[in-house]
């Protein structure tokens, strides 16, 4: 079996997906690629099931909000435990239409990771079997990790500077 490393994975992805996989980078040695939401499940399936990639383990799913560009990046960390390499796959989706296909079709562990991401960022994972809030209460009407929500309730009066002579 040929050696699996960052450059061989980059080559395989380029051969299979062409321009649909972009933004290839290796910060601190961790291979990072970007793709789009219409091919994300194909990319993940390819990374999981192709012999030359072998990223069979889903380490993590999370998201990052970039309000300046009005995007939410959904970030997948995958791991090839045999060859000891990791890959980070990012999908930038628009913050007003935050929807992306679910990865629960590939890994059972994606279930709670996606629920957490939905809870925090409001990303709707299409096809998820049970997309509910997981850590916050059901009645909460915001997704608190979005940057427009400040850390503390702005209506609180007990922390206003004027009460402290500031």
């Amino acid at each position: 079996m040929a050696e699996v490393n960052n450059s061989s994975v980059i080559q395989l992805l380029a051969d299979r997906f062409g321009a649909k996989v972009s933004g290839v980078n290796e910060p601190y040695g961790l291979l990072t690629v970007e793709t789009t939401k219409d091919v994300i499940i194909d990319v993940l399936t390819f990374l999981k099931e192709t012999e030359g990639t072998g990223f069979t383990f889903l380490t993590d799913i999370t998201a990052v909000h970039y309000p300046e560009t009005k995007h939410i990046a959904v970030v997948y960390h995958l791991h090839n435990m045999v060859n000891k390499i990791r890959i980070r796959v990012k999908v930038f989706i628009h913050e007003h239409t935050p929807a992306i296909p679910t990865a629960t079709v590939l890994w059972n562990g994606a279930n709670w990771m996606e629920r957490e991401t939905y809870d925090f960022f409001g990303v709707k994972f299409e096809g998820h079997p049970d997309l509910r809030r997981i850590l916050n209460m059901d009645e909460l009407n915001v997704h608190p990790m979005l940057k427009q929500y400040p850390l503390e309730d702005p209506n609180r009066v007990d922390k206003k500077d004027e009460y402290f002579g500031r």
Binding site: H77, R88, N108, W112
Partner: protein, 404 residues
């Protein structure tokens, strides 16, 4: 006969399932977890887990804090082994800043982290024993957790939430009393652990309650993204310390114990064996320390390492650096870094995105308890209620890490 699907006649008053709320605050759940179970007699037909009762928005808070002020947050993730969380966080920042720490710091870190691992596994294994009714073993080994806390106390002044590290090393050097306590621990703990094993490993009741219960296959474990002792009990030898060595773990001689059947008994055995390996690692680190120059306990990174308090009070340069660090005047690079350590329950990962300032733009904790627990309700189906209780103990779910 399939126990999951009992056959009843029409209009049988027993043809009803009982809904049981196991938790949120139930003594057997070791924390604030709720499981709504559908019971057919004592057998669980289906279950739904609810979590989040102590969710404290750590990731949101972290976005508003400089690096040093995030350390106390990491302490409160897995509070049974807080030094591992601490070290993992500081190593992430060191990776971001390209800081190389001296060898002696690596060895000191290994000592502290392996002590934390032992402390974590003591809790889990003694509680499995406790839940099968063996209270003696619980009390017997638990006193060594107290000894470990005394060592922490000597190193940093705190016991549970230690805040033990600094970017680049430690706040202060280990003193002679700390080393003496570590040596005493290394001498006494193996004796007690051996006795603990002799009380449980071949105990008929213990084996009946644990062997063959809650078996998980490697495929299931990997599909649910399990890591740590739970994954290794199924036979997969994945350990971050070996796969991606940090803190000079690659210089050490140790084995990764694996199980065969993935049941509760295997998880217990894997954790026990890991405690032996940790004892060996601490001993090796103590030996290696003898060849390292004494008194080195941090890297020379004045831009990020907080100077000692007495220096701050008496030395202008130290005061300036202290001010600059605390006020976040020296920027960290714009970068994106993922760093993982082998926590007590598995791969504890820190995904840090920095936009050039001194507070993270985004910090995500990959918490093994959160990910491992997602399988609990599913794997409880078909199990007896009493087995589900021991199963929860064997998974070592820490509520702080689960909810973050």
């Amino acid at each position: 006969m399939n126990h999951n699907q009992p056959v009843y006649t029409d209009n049988d008053p027993q043809n009803e399932l009982v809904t049981l709320n196991l938790g949120p605050t139930h003594p057997a759940t070791h924390g604030v977890f709720q499981n709504v179970l559908q019971l057919d007699g004592e057998r669980i037909v289906s279950g739904v887990s609810t979590i989040g009762y102590i969710h404290r928005a750590f990731e949101k808070i972290a976005e508003h804090r400089p690096f040093y002020q995030i350390t106390p947050l990491t302490d409160r993730l897995n509070y049974c082994s807080s030094p591992i969380n601490n070290m993992g966080w500081h190593m992430t920042v060191e990776k971001l800043l390209n800081i190389t720490v001296p060898k002696r710091v690596d060895y000191l870190r290994i000592i502290v982290m392996e002590l934390a691992r032992i402390s974590d596994h003591i809790i889990c294994n003694t509680i499995i024993a406790q839940d099968t009714g063996a209270t003696t073993t619980f009390l017997y080994l638990f006193q060594f957790r107290e000894h470990i806390y005394e060592i922490y106390e000597e190193i940093c002044g705190a016991r549970l939430t230690t805040n033990i590290g600094r970017i680049g090393g430690f706040e202060r050097d280990f003193n002679d009393i700390a080393f003496a306590k570590i040596n005493k621990f290394l001498k006494e703990f193996p004796v007690a652990l051996k006795e603990f094993e002799s009380l449980l490993n071949r105990n008929r009741i213990f084996i009946d309650r644990t062997a063959g219960v809650a078996c998980v296959t490697p495929e299931q474990a990997l599909s649910y993204s399990w890591t740590g002792p739970l994954l290794r009990a199924t036979g997969v030898d994945y350990d971050v310390r070996v796969s991606e060595p940090y803190c000079s773990y690659d210089e050490f001689d140790f084995e990764v114990p694996v199980g065969t059947s993935g049941d509760i008994y295997d998880r217990y055995l894997v954790r026990n064996e890991e405690m032996w390996q940790s004892v060996s690692l601490i001993q090796q680190a103590m030996d290696k320390l003898k060849n390292e120059p004494a008194g080195v306990f941090h890297a020379d990174v004045p831009d990020f390492y907080l100077p000692a308090k007495e220096e701050v009070y008496n030395n202008m340069e130290a005061l300036i650096y202290h001010f600059k660090i605390v006020m976040g005047e020296i920027d960290a690079p714009k970068a994106e870094v993922y760093h993982a350590v082998e926590g007590g329950n598995g791969e504890l990962g820190f995904y840090l995105i920095n936009d050039g300032g001194r507070t993270p733009y985004r910090l995500h904790f990959r918490r093994p308890s959160f990910i491992n627990y997602s399988m609990y309700a599913k794997m409880s189906e078909g199990m007896l209620l009493s087995d589900a209780i021991i199963n929860m103990s064997s998974m070592n779910i820490i509520a702080g890490e689960l909810d973050a």
